[in-house]
């Protein structure tokens, strides 16, 4: 039996008297790759913040690894790449290695210093994202795509069981997006890391993810990828709020 990694039970969130999320129930299990899709303002980032414990739900409960979020302490089991990661202060004087190593802050423990062991772990994480040769470069000198890989390495360095990413491809050029998603698939398949990915790119991601959740204030669909693919574009357009036409890899191959 698979372990449950995230479980949202009837979660609602109200901000300034506006219901941002209503009755969300979602379960992510070990080794699954979830794509969380929805239009702008649908509450995707809010749901991620709730799952990460950055904000508290107005009602309902969230469990991480079987433990209520309010008492959850094993933070090192979660890797997180935010939408704003690459909007950091590019003048910040830090090397790639220093940034990645900072992902081990909690795991190393209070009053302790990073040693060669942590440097080695950071180098291993950089190897996974193919950025090990950049370890001594200042983070601000890298391209947007390279920076995002470094932030993924920071999220991976603690060997998490769950990787949460909020629109990580913002600011990355189209050419790098494809290799980025391939890398995510490898992480999920070869390293067994559960992934929850928030994205706008419904065409690419739904081909990669094992599960899909469609959110627009409430969950309109959640299930395995094959069931999502069977859904009619009109149904998706209805909850999306505007016409949506999905292009699958197979369609493109047919067109060719």
């Amino acid at each position: 039996m698979k372990n449950t990694i995230i479980e949202c039970k009837d979660v609602s969130f109200t901000y300034d008297r506006t219901e941002v999320l209503e009755h969300i129930s979602l379960k992510v299990e070990q080794g699954e790759f979830w794509a969380l899709i929805g239009p702008n303002g649908s509450g995707k980032s809010t749901l991620i913040k709730l799952i990460l414990g950055l904000i508290k739900p107005s009602s309902g409960s969230i469990e991480l690894f079987g433990e209520n979020i309010s008492s959850f302490r094993q933070r090192e089991r979660i890797g997180y790449v935010s939408q704003k990661s690459n909007a950091f202060n590019s003048g910040f004087p830090a090397t790639v290695l220093e940034v990645v190593r900072s992902g081990l802050t909690r795991k190393t423990g209070l009053f302790k210093h990073f040693t060669k062991r942590e440097d080695q772990q950071a180098m291993e994480a950089l190897k996974i994202v193919k950025m090990d040769s950049y370890h001594s470069r200042p983070i601000g000198e890298l391209s947007g795509g390279q920076q995002q890989r470094v932030f993924i390495a920071r999220a991976l360095v603690g060997k998490p069981d769950l990787l949460i990413m909020d629109e990580p491809t913002v600011g990355i050029d189209q050419q790098n997006i494809a290799s980025f998603y391939t890398m995510l698939q490898t992480l999920n398949r070869d390293h067994g890391i559960a992934i929850l990915l928030v994205t706008h790119e419904i065409d690419i991601v739904t081909d990669l993810a094992s599960h899909v959740a469609c959110l627009n204030r409430t969950i309109h669909f959640h299930g395995v990828q094959s069931d999502y693919k069977k859904m009619d574009d009109l149904d998706i357009s209805n909850w999306y709020g505007h016409p949506v036409r999905r292009v699958h890899q197979s369609d493109e191959e047919v067109e060719r």
Binding site: S82, A94, R106
Partner: protein
Amino acid sequence: MIEAILTYDFLQNAFLSGMIIGIVAPLLGLFIVVRRLALIADALSHVALAGIAGSLYLSQQVLFFSALNPVYLGMAAAVGGSLLIERLRGAYRHFEELAIPIILSAGIGFAAIFISLAKGFGTDLVGYLFGSVSAVSRQDLGIVASIALCVIGFIYFFYKELFALSFDREYAKVSGVHGKVIQTIFMIIVALVIGASMRIVGILLVSSLMTLPVAAAIQLAKSFKGAMLYSIGIGELSVLIGLIAAYYLDIAPGGTIVITSVIILLLVLFFKKTLRKMVGTKGEADLI
């Protein structure tokens, strides 16, 4: 001059406390600058001014305060100001930087009231505003040394947490770094350093010693550790040259220390620009 330092206690005090501040002010300043909070030091120094002015005024009115070193009340005011800034930053989540001008204005306001009530403090206050080589007592040196130990200990033990919080506060929070506690201790320590530095550098100039060496260092450094070492080196150089100049010219050391760090910053910027041009020209020549 070395002979004078060996002979006069006040010069020993000034040099020793200056050199200590040259280490701790830029050390803390690095964490302030990279978080784009450089004005915090300015706000806290103005709050410290209110504490000093309050202490000097009370010393005219109450016997107890006439025996009390005004630096203590200055430090207490700065610590209070630092905690208030933290509270206000929480209240104005979308305009966090607003907390700084609010506290800065309050500091100046209180200082102006105390100065008016006392009908001026003459040379006493000038010494606090711009620093003084002769005003640093053994007691002041003791305060500076104790605070420096706290600062170095704090940064030594919480270096990785401070780095994580400075680089990406949200990520640090998600990964379980105790941001609130560390940030509060950090703010208190910044306030204490400002309070301790004002005797030698002066209230109005203390923030410069926290920011100018860092501004030069981040132009040179490629890593965070490198930026830290450069900041300390430039801070020490500024204090040393500034104090020697102040001694020979018989002027307030605050001004000479700060102008020295401004000159170092300009030199760094100039050399970096020249180097970049040279590299650019070389690159073009290689292409041809």
